[in-house]
């Protein structure tokens, strides 16, 4: 497995992450090395093995569908980059 510049650019786009142009080749090399490490998994025979979903094989605990928290909006918005009238502001999405 070997990733090139365009693979890295595609993955970075999927992850919505800008990369420094000058570093893309270095990322390609590092990610290729990591994937080569991961390829060692192919040597194991797992045909009869169930995937392990949870270390203790526990099922997800569910709670009652009841309101248990107060509204913390104000506290949470104090630390937001940009808010107005209780809303989070982002660049215009719809013209």
């Amino acid at each position: 497995m070997s990733l090139d510049r365009s693979d890295v650019e595609k993955i970075a786009h999927l992850a919505r992450m800008s990369l420094d142009e000058a570093q893309i080749d270095a990322y390609a090399k590092d990610l290729t090395n990591i994937l080569n490490l991961v390829e060692q998994l192919e040597s194991s025979d797992t045909d009869q093995v169930e995937p392990m979903a949870h270390p203790l094989h526990m099922a997800q605990r569910l709670r009652q569908d009841q309101v248990t928290e107060d509204n913390h909006r104000q506290e949470y918005q104090v630390i937001a980059p940009s808010v107005e009238a209780g809303l989070y502001l982002v660049p215009k999405v719809i013209e």
Binding site: R16, M17, Q23, E42, E50, M52, A53, L56, M58, P91
Partner: protein
């Protein structure tokens, strides 16, 4: 004062030898004087610490005190602390003042601890050397040209240099045990689900677990007692009773069956470290333990499995950092996509970006079966190895790390070499088992850690096994000279 263990400090506080305010001032003075050389703190909360110490002194006076009341500790900067910056070692959260406390933070405060501040760490706990932190590397108090290990490197260095009585840490692939080993302290990663993860910034949710980092097992028992237990705010927290972790510390080890996995003593292990581990095993033989050679045949799959599971989960967990609701936002985004991309691109460091990309790739359309599903199957094989081993033995022992602390800069440019450093610790997280590291005989003046691995929820047994060793040896009492 700083040389005492928690138990000794607690006794001195009760006997009136010194107050918690005096003890707190003493540690704050040490931090101010000594930490510039280590960089183990991101934030020191001196004022809040002194206020908490005053309250603790009142509680001690009125007799309403616990074993931890008035004891100055530090929190890894991954635990949310209300009103205090919680950075997770990242530029992304450099401006994040947490609006709430993590359950671990809350429980320790309820137990009466004095929090001195927040410790440095690898960015989002991704690293084994504490070199990926936005706030710069932490240095090892035993040799400041060397790394303290990671990701809980600040916590380990602070405890080793006696800048705090104890610390909290988190362990996803070895992040409590490996820095504990490299800094010569005692670290315990509990069973997955033993300690609540609420308010502990998530890295890989099926692996992450919080635990204590202390001078000795006796102190770890006190810390874990306060930290452990069910929490309805963490849906993965185990609803299992919490035993008294101090009660069995002195239990006899006569007849204890110790398993030594042959895979943990093979190629790659520094022979001097191996000799140190062997000498520790001999101490256990002297205590009446039997040694059994065992095999964990899928050990070689642990690191590759981890580097699918952990990045996949991290790419999902870290998608919440989008520049919209909290944390870093880029300057003048031209549209929403630009806001996401540049906030994340500028807010995350290189190692975090590498792992997000590996995870994104492994989970992308067409690759899921080949990577994530395959890794969850090999994870099962690794877990079954332990299950079979625990049919024959009570505790597994081996080295925590293949070498002593390496030099700053030595491995940071080669991610795969860095990853292989966690070869003995990662399998424990994949299986969800508890693990511990305790200091044994150093090599060339650098600490070595003995790793103990126990069965599910066998923390009390691990603490007992560690404590008995520490009754026979003094390694946990030795201190780095420049910080004595």
């Amino acid at each position: 004062m700083h040389r005492k263990t928690i138990t000794e400090m607690s006794a001195s506080l009760r006997a009136g030898e010194f107050t918690s305010v005096e003890l707190t001032r003493h540690f704050l003075e040490r931090i101010e004087r000594l930490d510039p050389e280590l960089n183990s703190f991101v934030t020191v909360t001196a004022e809040a610490a002194l206020a908490a110490a005053e309250k603790a002194d009142q509680a001690l006076q009125s007799g309403a005190a616990s074993a931890l009341t008035g004891i100055p500790i530090v929190q890894k900067d991954i635990f949310c602390t209300r009103g205090v910056r919680t950075s997770c070692g990242s530029r992304m959260l450099d401006n994040f003042i947490s609006p709430y406390d993590a359950t671990v933070t809350e429980r320790l405060l309820q137990a009466g601890v004095v929090s001195l501040g927040k410790t440095n760490m690898d960015e989002f706990a991704m690293g084994s050397s504490n070199e990926t932190s936005f706030y710069g590397p932490v240095r090892n108090p035993w040799d400041t040209k060397r790394v303290p290990g990671g990701s809980s490197g600040g916590s380990a260095a602070a405890v080793a240099a006696r800048l705090a009585a104890a610390a909290t840490g988190t362990d996803t692939g070895g992040s409590i045990r490996q820095p504990a080993a490299l800094c010569g302290i005692t670290g315990l990663k509990p069973t997955y689900g033993r300690v609540s993860r609420f308010g502990m910034i998530a890295f890989a949710s099926s692996l992450d677990q919080a635990g204590p980092m202390t001078r000795c097992a006796e102190d770890a028992a006190l810390m874990l007692q306060a930290m452990a237990g069910f929490d309805e705010r963490d849906s993965t927290c185990a609803d299992e009773p919490v035993p008294d972790y101090s009660a069995g510390l002195n239990d006899s080890l006569d007849g204890l069956r110790i398993g030594l996995p042959k895979e943990y003593f093979g190629e790659g292990l520094d022979p001097a470290v191996a000799a140190s581990i062997q000498a520790a095993i001999d101490v256990y033989k002297g205590l009446g333990a039997e040694v059994v050679e065992i095999s964990l045949p899928n050990t070689g799959l642990a690191v590759p499995t981890y580097y699918v599971v952990a990045p996949a989960e991290c790419s999902s967990n870290l998608s919440r950092f989008d520049g919209v609701r909290f944390g870093y936002r880029c300057q003048e985004p031209k549209d929403l996509e630009d806001l996401y991309k540049r906030s994340r691109g500028e807010g995350f460091g290189e190692e975090v970006k590498r792992r997000i990309m590996i995870g994104t790739y492994a989970l992308s359309a067409g690759y899921y079966d080949a990577y994530y599903l395959k890794a969850q199957k090999t994870r099962h094989l690794i877990s079954d190895d332990f299950k079979q081993a625990f049919e024959q033995v009570d505790v597994i022992m081996g080295p925590t790390s293949p070498t002593t602390a390496f030099a700053l800069g030595e491995k940071v440019d080669d991610p795969v070499t860095m990853y292989l450093n966690d070869i003995y610790t990662i399998a424990t997280n994949l299986a969800g088992l508890p693990g511990m590291s305790l200091p044994v005989e150093p090599v060339n003046g650098l600490p070595v850690g003995l790793q103990l691995i126990g069965n599910y929820f066998a923390e009390a047994k691990l603490l007992n096994v560690a404590h008995r060793f520490q009754q026979e040896t003094q390694w946990h009492r030795t201190m780095p000279e420049n910080f004595a």
